[in-house]
């Protein structure tokens, strides 16, 4: 069963009451937050899933979930952390869906080719292949390891990263070092060479 289908069930079974929609207010403030964070959330999801359109679909789902949260955090900092965390969860679930993962190489290749802004088509294909490998390795890591690497790679500071993942800032360095070591071991195991 794919994550999509599983979620379909969740949705089918859970959304019946309308209770969630009754707790979502105020709308104006939420839309301001939406505009403030949308680009960042999409950018993070592009890191994770590699496909721009899919990243935007997932981002829409992230904001929708935030909107439907009955106890939605209102302070922008807390909401930002929540958005990042939910985006990571959805993105990594998506990445782990094996059928979809198999399509990434093909899709990424098409995207690079279509973008035409990154050198020759061969450059694009090589980049797509490297991206697919890196994402496959991330999908095989423990969730916290992939989270730490993706957030850091997206440019979050240790403080921001700790906030998103609910860690002490002083433990970020340790987790990052461990995740990096694991990434290299796993890459070598899966592809027989270092990146």
């Amino acid at each position: 069963m794919s994550a999509d289908q599983a979620e379909g069930w969740d949705f089918a079974l859970g959304a019946a009451t309308g209770a969630a929609s009754e707790s979502v207010r105020p709308d104006g403030a939420f839309e301001e937050v939406f505009v403030s964070y949308y680009s960042q959330v999409v950018s993070l999801l592009i890191h994770v899933v590699g496909d721009r359109l899919r990243a935007e679909e997932l981002a829409n789902e992230v904001f929708w979930r935030a909107y439907r949260q009955s106890s939605r955090p209102t302070a922008s900092g807390r909401l930002g952390s929540w958005l990042y965390r939910t985006a990571l969860n959805l993105g990594i679930e998506d990445l782990r869906a094996s059928a979809r993962r198999r399509r990434y190489e093909h899709q990424a290749g098409q995207q690079i080719h279509a973008a035409g802004s990154s050198g020759t088509p061969l450059d694009g294909l090589l980049r797509a292949e490297r991206g697919a490998r890196v994402r496959s390795v991330l999908a095989s890591l423990k969730r916290w390891q992939a989270n730490v690497l993706l957030l850091r790679s997206s440019g979050l500071s240790y403080g921001e990263l700790a906030d998103v993942l609910g860690l002490k800032p002083s433990s970020v360095g340790t987790m990052l070092a461990r995740a990096e070591a694991r990434f290299q071991v796993q890459y070598l195991r899966m592809y027989g060479q270092e990146e």
Binding site: A6, A15, Y38, E57, S118, S153, G173, E180
Partner: protein, 390 residues
């Protein structure tokens, strides 16, 4: 000073240590060859991984995400949920954007054109529901999901422009007991006899809408969405389709807390598992008599991932004027059961770990009413519960 931890050495590379810590580290480095060697190893590892992950960043030439377009989509979705979608099908079938979907389904028999992922509850076609059947669909076989997403958005837009809502449901009414619910709903409401706890009861208002189909516009959207292999029946063009959705009663038992779209299992929220019982008279859909429902349904099944041959075969086995057809996703199973003196469909999904127990969904019709019972746990519970309806 004790030797430096890997975490400190790693933070130092990123300039994330306080000034004081940085000074201490420098002093310690001067006298600790082992720490210097470890720091070099950690730096090499960090550099390699950072280089590998640069490939994940968007390309330099890519445009920024369009937040305005996204918020427009968000508003459309919100409006659908807050307004018209307090409908029978949202309650029965659980999809907030159901009305949009239902309208489209009725028009083109579409199953899988949306980026939405809740196929279990997807409606194929409905006129006046007298029985319910299920069909397994292989959505993995669908084409590029990007195309599907674009197609879904386009059709949703089309429908939002052309559907005319004639009766709005208003706010749901909370009632105290079954007698009040029966009075508010206009039909005899039944409750679970084997539950000692009182349910939370809500009555959702009646609603109605209609639209006239522009076949060529829909066909062009299909082609833009990458499904030029499918041709909409010409009989659809100019057809006016109207739907009238009666009042719906929802009874919730147990600890029904929701997170986002999801009703949470008792393993997460505690208390008794949430059970949702929904009952309503069948919606009524009016279509022109010359409309070939089987042909439209066949088209919808193909769009849902079924082969042309299989769609034709299935379509011929169904009386589309009286049957509600549910698409069942892979990973869920279903069976026909005897329930409440009638034939029902029991859809099941196995549990996935401690926090996600098995789920069930039992749907049946009796005496002109549609019943839906959903919950967590052993699917046979659904039958026991249904048999206790008073």
């Amino acid at each position: 000073m004790a030797c430096l931890s890997d975490g400190m050495l790693r933070a130092q590379i990123d300039g994330e240590l306080s000034e004081k810590r940085q000074l201490e580290l420098g002093e310690h480095f001067a006298s600790c060859a082992d720490c210097r060697r470890r720091a070099e190893g950690i730096a090499r590892s960090a550099e390699r991984v950072a280089r590998a992950l640069t490939v994940l960043a968007p390309l330099a030439g890519e445009s920024s995400p369009d937040a305005r377009a996204a918020i427009a989509r968000f508003r459309t979705r919100r409006a659908a949920v807050q307004g018209d979608t307090r409908s029978v099908a949202r309650i029965l079938l659980g999809r907030p954007a159901w009305m949009t979907l239902a309208a489209a389904s009725l028009i083109v028999g579409v199953l899988a054109f949306t980026p939405a992922r809740s196929f279990a509850q997807r409606l194929v076609a409905m006129l006046r529901v007298q029985k319910i059947t299920a069909v397994p669909l292989d959505f993995e076989a669908l084409d590029n999901p990007g195309d599907r997403a674009r197609l879904g958005k386009s059709i949703a837009q089309l429908i939002s422009e052309e559907v005319v809502v004639t009766v709005k449901p208003g706010e749901p009414q909370q009632v105290m007991n079954g007698a009040d619910a029966s009075q508010a709903a206009g039909f005899q409401v039944r409750l679970l006899g084997n539950r000692a706890d009182a349910p939370q009861l809500k009555v959702f208002g009646e609603q109605a809408f209609h639209m006239t189909v522009d076949r060529d516009r829909l066909q062009s959207l299909l082609e833009e969405g990458g499904r030029s292999d499918l041709q909409l029946p010409y009989s659809l063009d100019g057809a006016t389709i109207a739907a009238q959705i009666p009042k719906v009663v929802l009874a919730e038992y147990g600890s029904c807390r929701h997170r986002g779209h999801d009703a949470l299992p008792a393993e997460v929220v505690g208390g008794l598992p949430c059970i949702q019982l929904v009952q309503a008279p069948s919606p009524t859909v009016t279509v022109p008599p010359e409309l070939d429902l089987a042909e439209i349904a066949e088209f919808g099944l193909q769009l849902g991932g079924m082969s042309a041959e299989a769609a034709r075969g299935f379509s011929r086995t169904v009386d589309w004027a009286s049957t509600l057809v549910l698409g069942i996703p892979q990973g869920s199973s279903y069976r026909t059961v005897e329930v409440d003196g009638a034939q029902g469909t029991l859809i099941e999904r196995a549990g996935r770990g401690e926090k996600t127990p098995a789920r069930y969904w039992l749907v049946w019709t009796r005496g002109g009413l549609i019943y839906s019972l959903r919950g967590w746990g052993d699917p046979t519970d659904a039958l026991t519960l249904a048999e206790s309806l008073n």
